[in-house]
Amino acid sequence: MKHEIEIIIAGFGGQGVLSMGKILAYSGLTEGKEVSWMPSYGPEQRGGTANVTVILSNNPISSPILNAYDVAIILNQPSLEKFESKVKPGGILLYDGYGIHGDIGRKDIRVYRVNAMDAATEMKNEKAFNMLILGGLLKIVPMVSLQSVLMGLKKSLPERHHKLIPMNEIAIRKGMEIVCAM
Protein backbone atom coordinates (compact mmCIF):
# COMPACT_ATOMS: atom_id res chain seq x y z
CA MET A 1 0.00 0.00 0.00
CA LYS A 2 0.87 3.65 -0.36
CA HIS A 3 3.36 4.96 2.20
CA GLU A 4 1.11 7.71 3.55
CA ILE A 5 -2.66 7.90 3.93
CA GLU A 6 -4.49 11.07 4.91
CA ILE A 7 -8.02 10.69 6.29
CA ILE A 8 -10.73 13.07 7.43
CA ILE A 9 -13.62 11.75 9.51
CA ALA A 10 -16.49 14.21 9.87
CA GLY A 11 -19.96 14.09 11.39
CA PHE A 12 -21.97 15.16 14.41
CA GLY A 13 -20.54 15.25 17.91
CA GLY A 14 -21.56 12.03 19.66
CA GLN A 15 -21.28 9.81 16.56
CA GLY A 16 -17.91 8.54 17.70
CA VAL A 17 -15.93 10.52 15.12
CA LEU A 18 -13.00 11.33 17.41
CA SER A 19 -12.86 7.87 19.00
CA MET A 20 -12.92 6.17 15.61
CA GLY A 21 -9.96 8.33 14.61
CA LYS A 22 -8.24 7.45 17.85
CA ILE A 23 -8.69 3.72 17.24
CA LEU A 24 -7.20 4.11 13.73
CA ALA A 25 -4.26 6.03 15.18
CA TYR A 26 -3.63 3.40 17.86
CA SER A 27 -3.89 0.66 15.22
CA GLY A 28 -1.23 2.45 13.17
CA LEU A 29 0.94 2.76 16.26
CA THR A 30 0.62 -1.01 16.81
CA GLU A 31 2.03 -1.54 13.31
CA GLY A 32 4.96 0.79 13.99
CA LYS A 33 3.67 3.55 11.71
CA GLU A 34 3.97 7.28 12.25
CA VAL A 35 0.56 8.65 13.20
CA SER A 36 -1.07 11.98 13.86
CA TRP A 37 -4.58 12.67 15.17
CA MET A 38 -5.75 16.26 14.97
CA PRO A 39 -9.29 16.93 16.23
CA SER A 40 -11.51 19.90 15.81
CA TYR A 41 -11.96 20.73 19.48
CA GLY A 42 -14.35 22.76 21.58
CA PRO A 43 -18.13 22.88 21.67
CA GLU A 44 -18.43 20.06 19.09
CA GLN A 45 -18.90 17.35 21.68
CA ARG A 46 -22.15 19.02 22.68
CA GLY A 47 -23.89 18.34 19.37
CA GLY A 48 -22.24 20.48 16.69
CA THR A 49 -20.16 19.12 13.82
CA ALA A 50 -16.98 17.30 14.79
CA ASN A 51 -14.08 16.19 12.65
CA VAL A 52 -10.67 14.66 13.01
CA THR A 53 -7.73 14.37 10.64
CA VAL A 54 -5.80 11.11 10.94
CA ILE A 55 -2.56 10.48 9.08
CA LEU A 56 -0.82 7.10 8.97
CA SER A 57 2.59 7.10 7.38
CA ASN A 58 5.84 5.19 7.04
CA ASN A 59 7.74 8.49 7.28
CA PRO A 60 7.70 11.33 9.81
CA ILE A 61 4.54 13.39 9.33
CA SER A 62 5.06 17.04 8.47
CA SER A 63 1.72 18.83 8.67
CA PRO A 64 -1.12 17.48 10.81
CA ILE A 65 -3.46 19.87 8.95
CA LEU A 66 -4.13 19.27 5.28
CA ASN A 67 -5.62 20.80 2.13
CA ALA A 68 -6.92 17.56 0.67
CA TYR A 69 -7.49 14.00 1.76
CA ASP A 70 -7.04 10.48 0.36
CA VAL A 71 -10.12 9.33 2.24
CA ALA A 72 -13.10 11.28 3.55
CA ILE A 73 -15.52 9.55 5.89
CA ILE A 74 -18.68 11.64 5.87
CA LEU A 75 -21.39 11.03 8.42
CA ASN A 76 -23.75 13.99 7.96
CA GLN A 77 -24.89 16.48 5.31
CA PRO A 78 -22.98 19.57 6.58
CA SER A 79 -19.75 17.54 6.52
CA LEU A 80 -20.44 16.46 2.95
CA GLU A 81 -20.80 20.09 1.92
CA LYS A 82 -17.59 20.99 3.72
CA PHE A 83 -15.33 18.11 2.66
CA GLU A 84 -16.58 16.63 -0.66
CA SER A 85 -14.45 19.10 -2.63
CA LYS A 86 -11.40 18.27 -0.52
CA VAL A 87 -11.06 14.63 -1.55
CA LYS A 88 -8.03 14.19 -3.82
CA PRO A 89 -8.85 13.13 -7.40
CA GLY A 90 -8.88 9.32 -7.39
CA GLY A 91 -9.50 9.38 -3.63
CA ILE A 92 -12.27 7.77 -1.64
CA LEU A 93 -15.45 9.11 -0.08
CA LEU A 94 -17.24 6.79 2.33
CA TYR A 95 -20.60 7.84 3.74
CA ASP A 96 -23.44 6.66 5.94
CA GLY A 97 -26.65 6.27 3.94
CA TYR A 98 -28.79 7.61 6.77
CA GLY A 99 -26.84 10.84 7.25
CA ILE A 100 -26.60 11.92 3.61
CA HIS A 101 -29.51 12.94 1.39
CA GLY A 102 -29.08 13.27 -2.35
CA ASP A 103 -26.21 12.39 -4.64
CA ILE A 104 -22.48 12.80 -4.39
CA GLY A 105 -21.53 15.14 -7.22
CA ARG A 106 -17.88 14.20 -7.71
CA LYS A 107 -17.19 11.81 -10.61
CA ASP A 108 -13.39 11.71 -10.21
CA ILE A 109 -13.41 9.88 -6.88
CA ARG A 110 -14.54 6.47 -5.67
CA VAL A 111 -17.69 6.60 -3.56
CA TYR A 112 -18.80 3.95 -1.07
CA ARG A 113 -21.76 3.69 1.26
CA VAL A 114 -22.17 1.88 4.58
CA ASN A 115 -25.71 1.88 5.94
CA ALA A 116 -24.27 1.96 9.43
CA MET A 117 -27.14 3.73 11.19
CA ASP A 118 -29.62 1.15 9.86
CA ALA A 119 -27.32 -1.74 10.81
CA ALA A 120 -26.72 -0.31 14.29
CA THR A 121 -30.48 -0.01 14.82
CA GLU A 122 -30.89 -3.59 13.62
CA MET A 123 -28.18 -4.70 16.06
CA LYS A 124 -30.06 -2.72 18.76
CA ASN A 125 -26.77 -1.02 19.53
CA GLU A 126 -26.42 2.60 18.47
CA LYS A 127 -22.90 2.66 19.85
CA ALA A 128 -21.79 0.18 17.19
CA PHE A 129 -22.27 2.92 14.57
CA ASN A 130 -18.69 4.09 14.28
CA MET A 131 -17.30 0.52 14.30
CA LEU A 132 -19.60 -0.38 11.40
CA ILE A 133 -18.17 2.58 9.50
CA LEU A 134 -14.64 1.56 10.46
CA GLY A 135 -15.32 -1.96 9.14
CA GLY A 136 -16.46 -0.50 5.83
CA LEU A 137 -13.31 1.61 5.64
CA LEU A 138 -10.99 -1.32 6.37
CA LYS A 139 -12.71 -3.41 3.66
CA ILE A 140 -12.08 -0.84 0.93
CA VAL A 141 -8.72 0.49 2.25
CA PRO A 142 -6.98 -2.20 4.33
CA MET A 143 -4.54 0.33 5.80
CA VAL A 144 -4.18 -1.63 9.03
CA SER A 145 -4.99 -5.27 9.85
CA LEU A 146 -8.09 -6.24 11.84
CA GLN A 147 -5.74 -7.66 14.46
CA SER A 148 -4.07 -4.26 14.88
CA VAL A 149 -7.46 -2.60 15.15
CA LEU A 150 -8.41 -4.94 17.98
CA MET A 151 -5.09 -4.09 19.66
CA GLY A 152 -5.86 -0.41 19.01
CA LEU A 153 -9.26 -0.80 20.65
CA LYS A 154 -7.61 -2.33 23.68
CA LYS A 155 -5.22 0.60 23.97
CA SER A 156 -7.73 3.38 23.36
CA LEU A 157 -10.51 2.04 25.58
CA PRO A 158 -10.27 2.24 29.36
CA GLU A 159 -9.93 -1.21 30.91
CA ARG A 160 -13.48 -1.21 32.29
CA HIS A 161 -14.74 -1.15 28.69
CA HIS A 162 -12.57 -4.01 27.42
CA LYS A 163 -15.54 -6.38 27.75
CA LEU A 164 -17.09 -4.47 24.82
CA ILE A 165 -14.28 -5.39 22.41
CA PRO A 166 -15.97 -8.57 21.08
CA MET A 167 -19.11 -6.55 20.27
CA ASN A 168 -16.92 -4.02 18.45
CA GLU A 169 -15.29 -6.81 16.45
CA ILE A 170 -18.72 -8.09 15.38
CA ALA A 171 -19.66 -4.55 14.26
CA ILE A 172 -16.42 -4.13 12.31
CA ARG A 173 -16.97 -7.45 10.51
CA LYS A 174 -20.58 -6.47 9.78
CA GLY A 175 -19.37 -3.16 8.34
CA MET A 176 -16.98 -5.04 6.08
CA GLU A 177 -19.95 -7.06 4.76
CA ILE A 178 -22.36 -4.25 4.11
CA VAL A 179 -20.10 -1.63 2.52
CA CYS A 180 -20.97 -1.16 -1.13
CA ALA A 181 -19.56 0.78 -4.06
CA MET A 182 -21.85 3.46 -5.48
Binding site: A25, Y26, L29, M38, S63
Partner: protein
Protein backbone atom coordinates in the same frame (compact mmCIF):
# COMPACT_ATOMS: atom_id res chain seq x y z
CA UNK B 1 13.80 1.28 26.10
CA UNK B 2 10.78 3.37 27.03
CA UNK B 3 7.50 2.43 25.39
CA UNK B 4 6.27 4.56 22.48
CA UNK B 5 2.99 6.14 23.55
CA UNK B 6 0.26 8.00 21.73
CA UNK B 7 -0.97 11.11 23.49
CA UNK B 8 -1.97 14.77 23.20
CA UNK B 9 0.64 17.48 23.61
CA UNK B 10 -1.08 18.66 26.78
CA UNK B 11 -0.99 15.16 28.25
CA UNK B 12 2.69 14.85 27.33
CA UNK B 13 3.49 18.00 29.33
CA UNK B 14 1.73 16.59 32.39
CA UNK B 15 3.50 13.23 32.23
CA UNK B 16 6.87 14.88 31.56
CA UNK B 17 6.36 17.19 34.55
CA UNK B 18 5.81 14.24 36.90
CA UNK B 19 8.81 12.42 35.46
CA UNK B 20 11.06 15.48 35.75
CA UNK B 21 10.52 15.43 39.48
CA UNK B 22 8.49 18.63 39.54
CA UNK B 23 7.55 19.64 43.09
CA UNK B 24 4.37 21.54 42.35
CA UNK B 25 1.84 22.47 39.66
CA UNK B 26 -0.61 25.32 40.28
CA UNK B 27 -3.21 26.07 37.63
CA UNK B 28 -6.66 27.16 36.66
CA UNK B 29 -8.53 25.47 33.79
CA UNK B 30 -8.91 27.07 30.36
CA UNK B 31 -9.31 25.59 26.86
CA UNK B 32 -7.22 24.48 24.97
CA UNK B 33 -4.85 23.39 27.76
CA UNK B 34 -7.13 21.94 30.44
CA UNK B 35 -5.81 18.40 29.81
CA UNK B 36 -2.56 19.40 31.54
CA UNK B 37 -4.19 19.70 34.96
CA UNK B 38 -6.76 16.98 34.18
CA UNK B 39 -3.95 14.51 33.40
CA UNK B 40 -2.02 15.53 36.52
CA UNK B 41 -5.13 15.06 38.66
CA UNK B 42 -5.82 11.65 37.09
CA UNK B 43 -2.21 10.50 37.58
CA UNK B 44 -2.27 11.55 41.27
CA UNK B 45 1.51 12.12 41.52
CA UNK B 46 1.14 13.19 45.17
CA UNK B 47 0.81 9.48 45.90
CA UNK B 48 3.98 8.53 44.02
CA UNK B 49 6.57 11.33 43.78
CA UNK B 50 4.95 13.66 46.32
CA UNK B 51 4.30 16.33 43.66
CA UNK B 52 1.63 18.86 44.65
CA UNK B 53 -1.11 19.45 42.07
CA UNK B 54 -3.44 22.27 42.99
CA UNK B 55 -6.33 23.98 41.23
CA UNK B 56 -6.08 27.55 42.47
CA UNK B 57 -9.01 29.95 42.75
CA UNK B 58 -7.68 32.00 39.81
CA UNK B 59 -4.79 32.35 37.39
CA UNK B 60 -3.40 35.16 39.55
CA UNK B 61 -3.43 32.97 42.65
CA UNK B 62 -1.72 30.18 40.68
CA UNK B 63 1.20 32.33 39.48
CA UNK B 64 1.72 33.71 42.98
CA UNK B 65 1.80 30.16 44.36
CA UNK B 66 4.49 29.53 41.75
CA UNK B 67 6.32 32.67 42.99
CA UNK B 68 6.25 31.31 46.53
CA UNK B 69 7.29 27.79 45.55
CA UNK B 70 10.12 29.10 43.36
CA UNK B 71 11.35 31.26 46.23
CA UNK B 72 11.82 28.13 48.30
CA UNK B 73 13.95 26.57 45.55
CA UNK B 74 11.30 24.10 44.39
CA UNK B 75 10.65 23.02 40.80
CA UNK B 76 7.25 24.62 40.29
CA UNK B 77 5.12 25.34 37.23
CA UNK B 78 1.84 26.68 35.98
CA UNK B 79 0.01 26.54 32.67
CA UNK B 80 -2.76 28.48 30.99
CA UNK B 81 -3.94 29.82 27.65
CA UNK B 82 -3.71 33.36 26.33
CA UNK B 83 -6.30 35.27 28.45
CA UNK B 84 -5.10 33.40 31.53
CA UNK B 85 -1.47 34.24 30.77
CA UNK B 86 -2.41 37.93 30.58
CA UNK B 87 -3.66 37.59 34.16
CA UNK B 88 -0.37 36.01 35.23
CA UNK B 89 1.88 38.73 33.80
CA UNK B 90 2.19 40.76 36.97
CA UNK B 91 3.41 37.65 38.78
CA UNK B 92 5.77 36.75 35.94
CA UNK B 93 7.36 40.21 36.10
CA UNK B 94 7.80 39.83 39.89
CA UNK B 95 9.37 36.37 39.43
CA UNK B 96 11.75 37.74 36.78
CA UNK B 97 12.55 40.72 39.05
CA UNK B 98 13.25 38.42 41.99
CA UNK B 99 15.44 36.24 39.69
CA UNK B 100 13.59 33.01 40.40
CA UNK B 101 13.34 29.92 38.19
CA UNK B 102 9.98 28.46 37.20
CA UNK B 103 8.19 27.00 34.19
CA UNK B 104 5.11 28.58 32.61
CA UNK B 105 3.19 26.93 29.76
CA UNK B 106 1.03 28.97 27.37
CA UNK B 107 -1.10 26.92 24.96
CA UNK B 108 -2.17 29.88 22.84
CA UNK B 109 -5.69 30.56 21.55
CA UNK B 110 -7.04 33.36 19.38
CA UNK B 111 -7.40 36.83 20.87
CA UNK B 112 -7.54 39.65 21.74
CA UNK B 113 -9.84 39.59 24.74
CA UNK B 114 -11.54 36.31 25.55
CA UNK B 115 -11.22 35.63 21.81
CA UNK B 116 -11.71 32.07 20.63
CA UNK B 117 -10.62 28.66 21.82
CA UNK B 118 -9.07 27.85 18.43
CA UNK B 119 -5.26 27.89 17.91
CA UNK B 120 -3.25 31.07 17.41
CA UNK B 121 0.29 32.40 17.78
CA UNK B 122 -0.70 35.96 18.59
CA UNK B 123 1.05 36.01 21.99
CA UNK B 124 4.54 36.19 20.47
CA UNK B 125 4.91 39.88 21.32
CA UNK B 126 3.51 39.32 24.81
CA UNK B 127 6.01 36.55 25.46
CA UNK B 128 9.26 37.81 23.97
CA UNK B 129 8.83 41.58 24.27
CA UNK B 130 8.03 41.72 27.95
CA UNK B 131 4.31 41.31 28.52
CA UNK B 132 4.62 42.34 32.14
CA UNK B 133 6.28 45.57 33.20
CA UNK B 134 9.99 46.29 33.41
CA UNK B 135 13.10 45.27 31.46
CA UNK B 136 12.86 41.50 31.82
CA UNK B 137 13.11 38.57 29.46
CA UNK B 138 11.45 35.17 29.41
CA UNK B 139 13.41 32.19 28.09
CA UNK B 140 10.92 30.97 25.49
CA UNK B 141 10.73 27.50 23.95
CA UNK B 142 8.37 26.81 21.02
CA UNK B 143 7.59 23.08 20.66
CA UNK B 144 6.39 21.84 17.26
CA UNK B 145 5.57 18.23 18.15
CA UNK B 146 4.13 16.24 21.02
CA UNK B 147 7.62 14.86 21.61
CA UNK B 148 8.96 18.39 22.08
CA UNK B 149 6.09 19.19 24.47
CA UNK B 150 7.48 16.39 26.64
CA UNK B 151 11.15 17.22 26.11
CA UNK B 152 10.86 20.96 26.74
CA UNK B 153 9.59 20.49 30.29
CA UNK B 154 13.06 19.31 31.34
CA UNK B 155 14.83 21.78 29.05
CA UNK B 156 12.70 24.67 30.34
CA UNK B 157 13.32 23.81 34.00
CA UNK B 158 17.05 23.26 33.38
CA UNK B 159 17.45 26.63 31.65
CA UNK B 160 15.32 28.37 34.29
CA UNK B 161 17.54 27.02 37.09
CA UNK B 162 20.79 27.60 35.19
CA UNK B 163 19.97 31.31 34.81
CA UNK B 164 17.60 31.88 37.76
CA UNK B 165 14.97 33.15 35.34
CA UNK B 166 11.42 32.12 34.43
CA UNK B 167 11.09 29.99 31.29
CA UNK B 168 8.03 29.61 29.10
CA UNK B 169 6.84 26.85 26.79
CA UNK B 170 4.91 28.73 24.10
CA UNK B 171 2.65 26.20 22.36
CA UNK B 172 -0.77 26.56 20.74
CA UNK B 173 -4.05 24.70 20.48
CA UNK B 174 -2.78 22.51 17.63
CA UNK B 175 0.23 21.12 19.48
CA UNK B 176 -1.77 20.92 22.71
CA UNK B 177 -4.70 19.00 21.22
CA UNK B 178 -3.10 16.75 18.60
CA UNK B 179 -2.01 13.19 19.37
CA UNK B 180 1.30 11.85 18.16
CA UNK B 181 3.86 9.30 19.17
CA UNK B 182 5.95 10.23 22.17
CA UNK B 183 8.67 8.64 24.23
CA UNK B 184 8.53 9.98 27.78
CA UNK B 185 11.71 10.70 29.74
CA UNK B 186 12.66 8.37 32.60
CA UNK B 187 11.34 9.15 36.09
CA UNK B 188 13.73 11.28 38.14
CA UNK B 189 13.49 11.75 41.88
CA UNK B 190 12.43 15.14 43.27
CA UNK B 191 15.23 17.22 44.76
CA UNK B 192 15.75 16.80 48.48
CA UNK B 193 15.93 19.82 50.82
CA UNK B 194 19.69 19.15 51.10
CA UNK B 195 20.14 19.24 47.33
CA UNK B 196 18.13 22.46 47.09
CA UNK B 197 20.28 24.05 49.81
CA UNK B 198 23.39 23.07 47.86
CA UNK B 199 22.20 24.00 44.34
CA UNK B 200 20.10 27.08 45.15
CA UNK B 201 21.78 28.82 48.10
CA UNK B 202 19.42 31.79 47.61
CA UNK B 203 16.36 29.67 48.42
CA UNK B 204 14.21 30.51 51.42
CA UNK B 205 14.13 27.33 53.51
CA UNK B 206 13.54 28.63 57.01
CA UNK B 207 16.20 30.18 59.22
CA UNK B 208 19.04 27.68 58.89
CA UNK B 209 21.82 29.76 60.47
CA UNK B 210 21.36 32.54 63.02
CA UNK B 211 23.19 35.18 60.94
CA UNK B 212 22.16 34.13 57.43
CA UNK B 213 18.92 35.50 56.00
CA UNK B 214 17.77 34.95 52.41
CA UNK B 215 15.37 37.59 51.15
CA UNK B 216 13.30 37.11 48.00
CA UNK B 217 11.97 40.38 46.62
CA UNK B 218 11.72 42.43 43.45
CA UNK B 219 11.41 45.67 45.46
CA UNK B 220 14.39 48.01 45.75
CA UNK B 221 13.71 51.64 46.65
CA UNK B 222 17.28 52.87 46.19
CA UNK B 223 17.53 53.67 42.45
CA UNK B 224 21.29 53.20 42.42
CA UNK B 225 20.92 49.63 43.66
CA UNK B 226 17.93 49.09 41.35
CA UNK B 227 20.05 50.13 38.40
CA UNK B 228 22.76 47.69 39.48
CA UNK B 229 20.13 44.96 39.69
CA UNK B 230 18.96 45.80 36.19
CA UNK B 231 22.52 45.79 34.86
CA UNK B 232 22.98 42.35 36.39
CA UNK B 233 19.76 41.14 34.69
CA UNK B 234 20.93 42.56 31.36
CA UNK B 235 24.34 40.89 31.66
CA UNK B 236 22.52 37.61 32.30
CA UNK B 237 20.27 38.17 29.28
CA UNK B 238 23.31 38.83 27.03
CA UNK B 239 24.85 35.58 28.31
CA UNK B 240 21.63 33.68 27.49
CA UNK B 241 21.56 35.26 24.01
CA UNK B 242 25.15 34.14 23.46
CA UNK B 243 24.69 30.56 24.68
CA UNK B 244 21.12 29.34 24.37
CA UNK B 245 19.83 30.06 20.85
CA UNK B 246 18.25 26.92 19.41
CA UNK B 247 16.83 26.44 15.92
CA UNK B 248 16.28 23.76 13.28
CA UNK B 249 16.96 23.95 9.54
CA UNK B 250 14.96 21.97 6.97
CA UNK B 251 16.28 21.86 3.39
CA UNK B 252 18.00 25.22 3.91
CA UNK B 253 21.36 24.33 2.36
CA UNK B 254 20.48 25.19 -1.25
CA UNK B 255 17.38 27.27 -0.46
CA UNK B 256 16.66 30.32 -2.56
CA UNK B 257 13.51 31.12 -0.61
CA UNK B 258 13.35 30.78 3.14
CA UNK B 259 10.27 30.23 5.27
CA UNK B 260 10.64 31.15 8.94
CA UNK B 261 8.06 29.67 11.31
CA UNK B 262 7.80 28.42 14.89
CA UNK B 263 5.62 25.85 16.66
CA UNK B 264 2.66 24.39 14.78
CA UNK B 265 3.16 26.79 11.84
CA UNK B 266 6.50 25.13 11.20
CA UNK B 267 4.68 21.82 10.69
CA UNK B 268 2.50 23.28 7.94
CA UNK B 269 5.61 25.01 6.53
CA UNK B 270 7.52 21.72 6.34
CA UNK B 271 4.75 20.34 4.14
CA UNK B 272 4.72 23.57 2.11
CA UNK B 273 8.49 23.18 1.54
CA UNK B 274 7.94 19.59 0.40
CA UNK B 275 5.22 20.77 -2.02
CA UNK B 276 7.47 23.57 -3.29
CA UNK B 277 10.34 21.13 -3.88
CA UNK B 278 7.97 18.88 -5.87
CA UNK B 279 7.39 21.89 -8.15
CA UNK B 280 11.14 22.48 -8.46
CA UNK B 281 11.16 25.56 -6.20
CA UNK B 282 14.18 25.67 -3.89
CA UNK B 283 12.44 26.48 -0.63
CA UNK B 284 13.71 25.81 2.90
CA UNK B 285 12.48 26.29 6.44
CA UNK B 286 14.25 27.83 9.39
CA UNK B 287 12.44 27.01 12.64
CA UNK B 288 13.41 29.05 15.70
CA UNK B 289 13.06 26.71 18.71
CA UNK B 290 13.95 29.39 21.25
CA UNK B 291 11.93 32.53 20.46
CA UNK B 292 13.93 34.42 23.04
CA UNK B 293 16.85 34.27 22.60
CA UNK B 294 16.08 34.63 18.88
CA UNK B 295 17.91 33.06 15.90
CA UNK B 296 19.17 36.47 14.74
CA UNK B 297 22.70 35.43 13.78
CA UNK B 298 21.76 32.50 11.56
CA UNK B 299 19.04 34.60 9.88
CA UNK B 300 21.61 37.33 9.27
CA UNK B 301 23.77 34.73 7.54
CA UNK B 302 20.87 33.47 5.38
CA UNK B 303 20.10 37.06 4.37
CA UNK B 304 23.33 36.96 2.30
CA UNK B 305 22.31 33.73 0.54
CA UNK B 306 18.57 33.72 -0.16
CA UNK B 307 16.37 35.79 -2.50
CA UNK B 308 13.58 36.34 -0.02
CA UNK B 309 12.20 35.37 3.38
CA UNK B 310 8.57 34.71 4.35
CA UNK B 311 7.70 34.72 8.05
CA UNK B 312 4.69 32.43 8.49
CA UNK B 313 2.75 32.91 11.73
CA UNK B 314 -0.79 32.46 13.06
CA UNK B 315 -0.96 36.19 13.81
CA UNK B 316 -0.97 39.54 12.03
CA UNK B 317 2.82 39.81 11.85
CA UNK B 318 4.82 39.61 15.07
CA UNK B 319 7.96 37.46 14.71
CA UNK B 320 8.43 39.07 11.28
CA UNK B 321 9.68 42.17 13.12
CA UNK B 322 12.51 40.18 14.69
CA UNK B 323 13.28 38.56 11.33
CA UNK B 324 13.53 42.04 9.75
CA UNK B 325 15.82 43.24 12.56
CA UNK B 326 18.00 40.16 12.06
CA UNK B 327 18.43 40.61 8.29
CA UNK B 328 18.70 44.39 8.63
CA UNK B 329 17.37 45.25 5.16
CA UNK B 330 19.71 42.90 3.27
CA UNK B 331 16.87 40.85 1.78
CA UNK B 332 13.13 41.18 1.32
CA UNK B 333 11.09 39.91 4.28
CA UNK B 334 7.31 39.46 4.10
CA UNK B 335 4.72 38.03 6.46
CA UNK B 336 1.90 35.55 5.89
CA UNK B 337 -0.65 34.77 8.57
CA UNK B 338 -4.19 33.77 9.42
CA UNK B 339 -5.98 35.29 12.38
CA UNK B 340 -8.43 34.62 15.15
CA UNK B 341 -8.16 30.83 15.28
CA UNK B 342 -8.17 30.10 11.54
CA UNK B 343 -5.24 27.88 10.55
CA UNK B 344 -3.51 28.06 7.17
CA UNK B 345 -3.01 24.91 5.09
CA UNK B 346 0.32 24.00 3.47
CA UNK B 347 -1.08 24.99 0.02
CA UNK B 348 -2.03 28.45 1.26
CA UNK B 349 1.52 28.91 2.54
CA UNK B 350 2.97 27.85 -0.82
CA UNK B 351 0.64 30.28 -2.64
CA UNK B 352 1.68 33.08 -0.28
CA UNK B 353 5.35 32.29 -0.89
CA UNK B 354 4.78 32.60 -4.63
CA UNK B 355 2.68 35.77 -4.41
CA UNK B 356 4.71 37.65 -1.84
CA UNK B 357 8.28 36.49 -2.48
CA UNK B 358 8.82 34.55 -5.72
CA UNK B 359 6.57 36.49 -8.16
CA UNK B 360 5.49 39.62 -6.31
Amino acid sequence: MEEVKLMKGNEAIAHAAIRYGTDGYFGYPITPQSEIMETLMAEMPWKTTGMVVLQAESEIAAINMVYGGAGSGKRVMTSSSSPGISLKLEGISYIAGAELPCLIVNVMRGGPGLGTIQPSQADYFQTVKGGGHGDYRLITLAPYSVQEMADFVALGFDLAFRYANPAMILADGIIGQMMEKVILPPQRPRKTEEEIRWESPWAVQGKLKPNKVNVITSLELDPAVMEENNLRFQAKYRQIEASEVRYEEFLCEDAEYLLVAFGSSARMCRKAVELAREEGLQAGLLRPITLWPFSSKVLGAYAQKVKGILSVELNAGQMVEDVRLAVNGKVKVEHFGRLGGIVFTPNEILSALKEKIINP
